[in-house]
Symmetry: D2
Subunit: 173 residues, 4 copies
């Protein structure tokens, strides 16, 4: 069986936050994406990790968004799919940037993140990662967000901060 | 946002097995599918539970496979997608039966199960359920198995018992 | 079998912190002590919950420490043992106050807390609670801290902030 | 701080059972006691592992019970305490054997086990192990079972099979 090659670009965000005992806070310090991946059964795909940065997306600069979008675009030429793990607050900014940055995509780019860190007992991190890894295999080339069992295509996706989820801009869903 | 209506037919299998303290064995007695669903964030879909049976699939009769296939076919007329939770040992039998039983499908039917019960700390149950719930939204009408991050379309899918996974018959993958 | 009656006074601290999705921080807002207790098998004891406050112990005033000590002293007259769930930063202050406040104890008072909130996957919360509940049955009347499989008796116990644990003052152990 | 040296003799039982995917059953094959210990914060004690056997206690012979009792007795001379991890069905047989085998104990021997394997999400394994490790430090020399937050001293302890717990023989508790 030919394996699909999937690149995962990690940029930080809530999903990767861990607990600092000294400060008593959740922070982006070490990546736990490898621990997450180790808990999944992944058959038929080969996952390549691309650790780009580890930031709360509220701290991202225009240059950060740009760097992520260009890296994703380049990876989409070499891989069968690209997953971007991202903070949800500014995920849509990077999503739109990906659409602008890349004229014609060879493979899908799927962004995902989480409302609750993987380090917590109750978390949406693993679910969202599973969804991104499957959506990137099933969707046609394009830029998407996969989270909470819903896949939406950019452009025109925004975060609904009140409910902690992504929706189509304009409210038609 | 219009919600998709997804029917989940539960039939038992390893994924739903729970531990009996008295006997010290894993068995299909009570369904834990509702507990699994409660641990997921499901947006944009409305899930309807159809508890059909709770059996180890090795105990299924030809009539059981038939009943499941016909129920799935009927549900596919009324819902936007149908997920079947099933024991993996005879999952492919039901999958093929679904293909035979239904002339023309209006919606996708996605079968899934698990190699390790949800009741265990280390389990593929939740991952597989998430994949089935997403695949049923992304795939065109047809009969599929979604498990371990891979979606395969019936007919022509068999269980690779040695590795505990599903593959295309004939070995081309 | 006669049941021992144990009072659990909850005051907050890291052990009870939960995650706030909106702010992305761990905070003392709702108590999760009942969830913790529900995960334990407790035979031969009857646990009575006394929710006193829900504070990071760094925010405790002299009056708070006093209130906790006096409440514990009173409870020790009516119950077979008293457990105090407390933030570790100022736990020793309350411990010493308990010794001063109560001339003669009828039952043991055992303080405990955690370095990592119960809400996290990796946490010492449940272990420490189990230890406090057992120590309060096995120790003679007195004031103790039980944490990380070690029981130390007040007075003369301090927090070793560097290692996140309690030790005897003076360093002799 | 002087460390106490605790020997843990593992003999198998439900607590150590793991899931066999091929057979779909829980069995005593590999020990997971090291994984359990790695999840605990143990300060002030040094734990030495003595893997003796890995059996369902229903399969133990008189010779097995004898071997465990004599090993525990010997260890109690060299260590500050001995914990025996054991199947609950015949735990009381080994407990009584320990009392008979050892004329005068230098250190406490604490037996423990579990009604639900550590491999399960919902399990009493870690709680019971924590209790045994604490009881062995707090109790005077003697033979005990620690489980479900209760410590009972041999001789005269039996398993109450109906409730899955240990009680004093004769029913006085």
């Amino acid at each position: 069986m030919t394996e699909k090659k999937i690149a995962i670009i990690s940029t930080g965000g809530t999903i990767e936050k861990t607990y600092c005992e000294l400060e008593g806070v959740m922070q982006n310090e070490v990546s736990n994406l490898d621990v997450m991946l180790a808990q999944l059964e992944l058959e038929g795909i080969e996952v390549v990790r691309v650790p780009l940065m580890n930031k709360d997306s509220l701290d991202m600069t225009a240059r950060d968004h740009d760097l992520i979008a260009r890296t994703a675009g380049t990876m989409a030429e070499a891989y069968d799919g690209v997953v971007i793990v991202h903070g949800t607050d500014r995920l849509a900014v990077t999503g739109e940037r990906c659409v602008e940055a890349v004229a014609e995509l060879d493979a899908p780019i799927v962004l995902t993140g989480a409302m609750r860190p993987f380090a917590l007992k109750i978390t949406d991190a693993l679910q969202n990662l599973v969804e991104a890894l499957l959506a990137v295999q099933l969707c046609e080339p394009g830029v998407y967000v996969a989270m909470h069992n819903r896949v939406l295509r950019f452009p025109g996706v925004v975060k609904d901060r009140q409910h902690g989820r992504f929706v189509r801009a304009g409210g038609d869903g």
